[in-house]
Amino acid sequence: MRRVTKALLIGVPALVLVAATVKAVPLARSWWDSRHKPAESQPVAGKSEAHAELVPNDPETLQVPDDVVLALGVRTTKVITAPPPEPLKLDGSLFLDANRMVHVHTRFAGEVVELGELEATAPAAGGPTGEEWHLSRPIRFGDQVKKGQLLAVVWSKELGEKKSELVENLSRLRLDEEKAKRLEELLAKGAVPERSVKEAERNVESDLIAVARIERTLRSWRLSEDEINVIRAEAEKVHKHKGQWGKELEGTWARVEVRAPIGATVVEKNVAVGDFVTTDADMFKIADLIRLDVLAHVYEEDLPEIEKLPKDQRRWTIFLRTDPRAKPLEGSFEQIGNIIDPNQHTALTMGWVDNSSGRLRVGQFVTAQIKLPAGSLEVAVPNSAVIDEDGTSLVFVQTDPKKHQYTRRRVTVLHRRDDSAHISSDPPPEEKKLGARGLVAGELVVTVGGVEMAAELDSLRLAIEPVPSAPASPPVSPPAKATSTALSAK
């Protein structure tokens, strides 16, 4: 009994002591904490404690407190109908209109004896200011000429000889006609045999044929009837003056005048007085520069795009590369070349531009921009609204302008321009399967603060939906994204 009592006397206080000690630890600790550890932080007056949170039953929508929206500087903007996509830019240059350029040739080879002249004005040397004097000067490269204006005179041996041949044949014709007439008279008198008359008539016919042949040749050389008549007159004169040629015609007998076939600008002048020219030489090239052709190279790959354009929409805007600040020129392209350049696989697109001002130059480099129609199922948002994350594109949509609730939406970006992204309002089925949805014009999307919202939404979702464990073997395709922050989740 004594042993039991003694054991109890020792054991009970011992247990009490142990219990008290264990109990005392937290009490002592709290005392120490009050001395060395901080109290729980107290809310500061005026500061809201609300944090961003997920909207119940909508794990893709974030409810953001008003003051956080203010502090973070969240901004939204309206989705707009997509403007046309970036125009197609074609490299090209200006050309002469092939129908408005003439290569001026001489009809006869010969020596250039004279060049056409233009009236010009020049400031009088040493005279009072503004005083000018007029002079004539030969046509030069760049001059504007009128239709029919004399460009050059060629002295053609061939023409002279042909003319003389005509004179000679006219003279022979005349003699043969007179001879035939006399023989007819003599035949009537029976002085000559009929055979002689017949021979004389045949000679006349031969002369007529020769004259006609030469005249036709001259006509085919585009000599006028007047000019031929002058030759006839000369033949008469020679006959009257017993073989004496008129001196007055010697200065013009071999003269060939080269005149401007159209009113245009001399773009090339390849002759000078004294040059010998042949008929195939381009003495002058004159071109009408009022309208210039535009030839632009379009890559094979882009041909379908422009071929789709209806005729009335085949318009382009021409920019001069050398003068980017100049007002662009509007025009249209009419033709798409049938031949592909084997070097760079481009086709030529052809059109024209008005150059009545004369400031455009042939060969000038241009960029032709062809506007493409906007996609009917496209909308545009600022680039800052799109969050690229793990290869997917997201936007945050404010479903109700009165509430700061933002829904994350996967979208399909079609193009990106310098400041905007074009988004499909009806994503393709394979994108839809991955969760993509369209955007509609007029919806509000977040342009500032979206990156942070995405990260916050991920962390909040992670807190309620733990990520399943990794597969036993590595997957072939990347796993679904769980969160986006560099140091994800809080």
């Binding site: 264990v22 901080p38 109290a39 490299d91 030839l295 760079q344 060969g363 994204k481 986006s484 922050t485």
Partner: protein, 1163 residues
């Protein structure tokens, strides 16, 4: 030997006194000249390699730079870990060597191996100057402002000045490893060629590059002799003449004029570049100005706006600074609402001055401060008006911690002296003991100084003066007791002192040996704890050795000198009361041995019961007086967005008046020393001294730092949502990252080959960790998440045009990224000259796809082959046309006489979009696919294996149990082929504990051997050892009560008092044995022995307690790392003071025949 020393000292008192004076003098000198560090460097040799590969993605960097470097470095002797990070444009390898490998040797080994790495052209690996505790000084550059408040100098100017002038100035200072520069813009001259203009003139990019490169050099033409003189011939072809305008600007006085001069000089160079001739046709030169964006400029007014511009390299980061407006007295200026008026700047240049590893920070800091003073005040040293504004100085922390230690030292010494006075009631004896404290410490300082070692907070502050003067206390107390009791009054004083000293001589010797054995674990510590506590062990050992030497020499001598007139006197009432109490206590104990034993059993049981509640951690956190706040944004965040948020964050942070100012660094420094991207925002917040903290409105007291962190974290997380905010301090942050390779205190690293699986596993770990109690702020350092605009080159399309992959990649690199091909020499400075497409042509994927690619290698015949080669036999021949006709193609224009003048046919041109095709998920070309693909943001590797890290903090629970639970919960998440390693503080703790247990076991064994040698009795040794168990229990309970965790600091506390506990037991048992040897009955021997020894025992215990009591109670900066140690010492010694079980245990076996040993030495 000890006896001879005592005898010599007493007989040569003058010499001893003179030697003591000399010690005081040299010690004083050493004290004022020894280097002091705030914190010991816990890291082994770590050599960081930085290799920048501009424009390359993380995957490319890993493949082409990181892996070749890892291969080259593998197998270096002593290399423990190679941890690497590959991210956009940067490879960063951290090579951690074994402890004990010299830093210089490690660097040399690395340098030798770097030459073996096969790296892409232009990638030049550098060794980073950074080290874990190397950041000693931070500053920003202040630019003068114009009337509108804008900086007069451009960021290019300031950055160039920082990189080329200031960095060099600081690098020349002793001990400085380098300067890391962040923020600002690195100037480069950019040429923006217009692809259309290039086409028009038929100029290729290569021609353009060659023309500029060839127009940018100086040459020497030897010299010519002109009569008696020589003239050196030079060809000056460098752009701008190679002159440095900034040097001239530094000589000016007006900032506006200097800035204008710099701008004019830049324009001059731009003009010169524009004038460079690329080619000439018909004597008409084609100049650079003709082929660049915008073409030739009509006037200088348009110069520099486009075409050839002064730009800057891709920005790696941006630094912002927010600070309050201060009045003339340095006080905050407040607005009408009482809020501070803040000045916030978004774009600053920041410099971080780095100390070379192992160098002394104080002399380096002095040199830095002197240099800054010189730069700021000497005309011509800086750009006019520019000033260096420091905002972090390690010296402040050193000052504060030194002050804390000094305060603890002084208060501790005063308390010890008071104890001595209380128990001895004799000023002289108290002073004799007290004088040993500074002398012992000075002795330690002399040894430190002679060994060229640095003192630090722990090495000085954690030394318990109570313990180091124990030997003096015992010897002086014994002498005093003997003399005051009148024993041997007939003998000469010297003899009486000698006898009294000899009485405790052997006990002292043994107890000192025991103490040295007890401290063995400190000396044997390896790893970070060895680095941290090694200096403390040194100091402790030197101080103890010095104290023992002084106790054996100076104390007896001073006793002889000062106790000449000592008269026998009674013990004071305190001692008498103490003795009476102790007598009653032990009478009771001896009368109720069972009950007391039971109580002891209860205590042991209770201790074992609560032991699981004792948390474990590696090291307590040292308060540094600053905060490093790191925000981790989504990896795909842009620089501008991160900067915008950083601005908001700065405002929030400075809304707390405790914060002195704030800097934010978005991204990384330009030298790549901190491997991170725009997603990382690191804010440095120097705090005001704690005594200047104001009571926030509506509160009754100032915030604590933890409250400050909590509230700031709440505000930041709330207002800048989606961002993970972490709080640390400069040194701690760097140290933890260096040791674990991960930013964050703790992390689990998951190793495996597949990046996607790693990413998913990390998310699983992350969500699991979030469910573990105590885990805070878990987060994954993501690998993926970076969106890439990837252009897979279509080999089929390339084949059609004979375009190589390199051709296309060159175009992408040049057009989008910009390729430096020459350098602008401006004196010592060199700036890249870069070709890059105009911004308008590379601003989105669609524009980039339109970038033209010149097809230069493709050949197109003009038509069918007209002739075959002539031979002697056949002569020339005509081949057959493959097309079936010899006719050539018609004119493209439809008119053979109206051909274009341009040369489009000469250099065919395609677009990038015609040569690339998106790839589908199955790796096949997918023309309808997207070029936007997910990619890697940062790939981490360790020992050649890919890994992903999940970081976490531990709050409100101890580290060990938290991690154990987390390990259990995540154990089944890993599939085959994947493994996890828990690293960081936890890993350090585990390794340290393992090492400590081993070494402590050896030390205890040695102590047992010593005790057995001393007593020649195992039971005596075991009984004495119960004191060790008691102090352990006391330490554990104190830790529990104060809510502290067991950590290395606490472990060192236990080690510190083991020696004292053993010494106390040793003194008692030897006293009992001696009395028993004299035939005194056991009970009487115990009571008499206790009576005789209680005063020195109480004094040693109290001095040990009071010596560290200030440190235990201190809350000042620097006290955190000492507190666990001090708490353990105080708790352990209190326990042994109250619950000394040696007498009780002795009573059970004391009736035996006393063994030979310590107890026999005296009468």
């Amino acid at each position: 030997m000890v006896g001879h020393l005592l005898e010599w000292a007493v007989k040569n008192r003058v010499i001893v006194v003179l030697l003591a004076a000399a010690l005081a003098a040299t010690g004083g000198y050493a004290f004022f000249h020894v280097n002091v560090e705030a914190y010991p460097d816990p890291a082994p040799a770590i050599v960081e390699i930085v290799a920048q590969y501009p424009g390359a993605s993380a995957e490319e960097v890993e493949r082409q730079v990181t892996i070749p470097l890892e291969i080259a470095l593998a197998g270096i002797p002593g290399l423990k870990y190679t941890r690497s990070k590959s991210l956009f444009g940067l490879a960063h390898l951290r090579n951690q060597f074994e402890y004990g490998i010299e830093n210089d040797r490690a660097r040399q080994e690395i340098i030798n191996r770097l030459a073996m790495a096969d790296l892409p052209k232009g990638v030049s690996p550098q060794i980073s100057p950074a080290s874990p505790i190397g950041e000693i000084y931070r500053y920003t550059l202040k630019s003068p402002k114009d009337a509108l408040g804008r900086d007069i100098y451009s960021l290019n100017d300031l950055k160039a000045f920082q990189d080329w002038t200031l960095q060099r100035e600081f690098r020349r200072l002793p001990g400085i490893a380098g300067v890391t520069s962040s923020g600002g813009t690195v100037k480069r001259y950019e040429i923006h060629p217009d692809p259309d203009r290039l086409k028009e003139y038929g100029i290729t990019l290569e021609q353009l590059e060659n023309a500029i490169s060839a127009s940018n050099a100086n040459v020497g033409g030897d010299y010519v002799v002109q009569g008696g003189n020589v003239q050196v011939v030079r060809g000056i072809g460098l752009l701008g003449g190679g002159e440095d305008p900034m040097v001239l600007a530094q000589g000016m006085t007006e900032p506006v004029k200097a800035a204008k001069f710099l701008r004019m000089e830049e324009l001059r160079r731009l003009r010169e570049i524009r004038k460079i001739v690329i080619a000439s046709t018909n004597n008409v030169p084609i100049r650079v100005g003709h082929v660049i964006e915008g073409g030739p400029v009509a006037s200088d007014a348009a110069l520099g706006q486009q075409g050839v511009v002064v730009g800057y390299q891709t920005r790696q980061g941006k630094v912002g600074l927010i600070r309050p407006l201060l009045d003339g007295n340095g006080h905050d200026v407040k607005d009408a609402q009482g809020k501070r008026i803040l000045i916030d700047e978004d774009d600053k240049i920041m410099g971080v001055i780095l100390l070379r590893k192992g160098e002394k920070s104080l002399p380096a800091l002095e040199a830095v401060i002197a240099k800054i003073e010189e730069l700021n005040t000497t005309p011509g040293k800086m750009l006019p008006g520019v000033q260096i504004e420091p905002y972090y100085n390690r010296g402040s922390l050193i000052d504060v911690t030194t002050e804390t230690v000094r305060e603890n030292l002084v208060v501790g010494m005063a308390l010890v002296t008071v104890i001595l006075l209380m128990f001895l009631s004799n000023i002289r004896s108290a002073l004799i003991v007290a004088i040993n404290i500074p002398l012992a410490m000075l002795f330690a300082f002399v040894v430190l100084y002679v060994r060229d070692k640095s003192a630090n907070l722990l090495s000085i502050g954690a030394v318990d003066f109570g313990i180091i003067v124990d030997s003096s206390v015992i010897i002086v107390e014994n002498i005093y007791r003997r003399l005051s009791s009148g024993e041997g009054a007939n003998l000469p004083l010297e003899e009486r002192v000698l006898r009294a000293s000899r009485e405790v001589e052997r006990s002292l010797l043994f107890s000192t040996m025991v103490m040295v054995c007890a401290l063995l674990p400190l000396f044997a510590m390896k790893g970070p704890e060895g680095q941290i506590f090694g200096p403390m062990a040194d100091t402790y050992a030197f101080a103890l050795g010095g104290a023992l030497l002084l106790a054996m020499t100076v104390s007896p001598v001073l006793c002889v000198i000062f106790f000449k007139t000592l008269k026998p006197e009674r013990e004071n009432f305190l001692v008498r009361g103490l003795k009476k109490t102790v007598h009653l206590q032990y009478s009771f104990v001896l009368n109720h041995r069972g009950l007391v034993l039971a109580l002891l059993g209860v205590l042991v049981s209770a201790t074992l019961a609560v032991l699981p509640f004792l948390g474990r951690e590696f090291m307590p956190e040292l308060e540094e007086g600053n905060m490093v706040v790191r925000g981790q944004f989504p990896v795909n965040v842009s620089l501008d967005e991160a900067v915008r948020n950083a601005r908001i964050a700065r405002r929030i942070m400075l809304s707390y008046p405790e914060v002195r100012l704030g800097t934010s660094q978005v991204g990384r420094p330009d030298d790549g020393t901190d491997p991170t991207g725009y997603y990382n925002v690191e804010c440095n917040l120097p705090l005001k001294p704690h005594d200047e903290w104001e009571i926030p409105p509506g509160r009754t007291r100032v915030r604590t730092k933890i409250e400050l962190i909590q509230e700031m974290n709440t505000d930041l997380s709330r207002d800048i949502m989606g961002v993970n905010w972490n709080f640390s301090q400069i040194i701690r942050d760097n140290v933890m990252e260096s040791l674990s390779g991960v930013k964050g205190e703790n992390s689990v690293k998951i190793f495996g080959p597949n990046l996607d699986v790693l990413e998913q596993l990390a998310q699983s770990f992350n969500s699991t960790l979030a469910t573990v109690h105590g885990v805070s702020d878990p987060g994954v350092f993501r690998i993926n998440g970076q969106t890439n605009l990837a252009f897979p080159i279509d080999r089929g399309k390339c084949a059609m045009w004979n375009v190589s992959v390199a051709d296309i990649e060159d175009v992408i690199q040049t057009a989008v990224g910009g390729t430096p091909f020459s350098q602008m020499t401006e004196g010592e400075k060199r700036f890249d000259i870069t070709l890059r497409w105009p911004a308008a042509l590379r601003q989105s994927a669609d524009y980039i796809l339109d970038i033209p690619v010149d097809v230069v290698k493709n050949t197109v015949t003009s038509g069918p082959t007209s002739s075959l080669g002539q031979t002697q036999i056949s002569g020339s021949s005509t081949g057959l046309s493959m097309t079936g006709t010899q006719s050539s193609m018609p004119s493209l224009t439809g008119n053979a006489f109206n051909a274009t003048f341009n040369n489009l046919s000469r250099v065919p041109r395609r677009r990038l979009r015609d040569l690339v095709t998106p790839i589908s998920k199955d790796g096949l070309p997918d023309p309808d696919g997207s070029f936007v693909k997910p990619g890697a943001s940062m790939i981490s590797r360790e020992q050649g294996k890919r890994l992903i890290a999940v970081k976490f903090g531990v709050r409100g629970r101890d580290l060990a149990s938290t991690v154990e639970e987390a390990q259990a919960k995540t154990a089944r998440l890993l599939p085959a082929g994947y493994e996890s390693v828990w690293s960081g503080e936890f890993q350090q703790m585990q390794e340290a504990e393992k090492r400590m247990v081993q070494v402590v076991a050896v030390a205890m064994l040695l102590i047992m051997v010593l005790l057995f040698l001393a007593f020649q009795s195992m039971i005596d040794a075991l009984v004495i050892f119960t004191n060790v168990a008691l102090i352990c229990m006391g330490g554990i309970w104190t830790l529990l009560i104060t809510g502290l965790n067991f950590n290395i600091s606490a472990g060192v506390g236990f080690i510190s008092i083991v020696g004292v506990a053993v010494m106390d037991g040793l003194l008692l048992v030897s006293s009992f044995n001696r009395l028993r040897f004299q035939g005194v009955p056991v009970r009487m021997a115990i009571l008499q022995g206790v009576d005789k020894r209680i005063r020195p025992l109480t004094m040693t215990a109290l001095t040990a307690i009071l010596g560290l009591l200030p440190a235990a109670l201190s809350t000042r900066i620097g006290s955190q790392s000492q507190r666990p140690l001090a708490i353990v010492v105080v708790g352990g010694m209190l326990t042994i003071l109250v619950f000394n079980m040696v007498p009780l245990l002795y009573s059970f076996y004391g009736h035996r025949e006393p063994p030979g040993g310590v107890g026999h030495e005296h009468d």
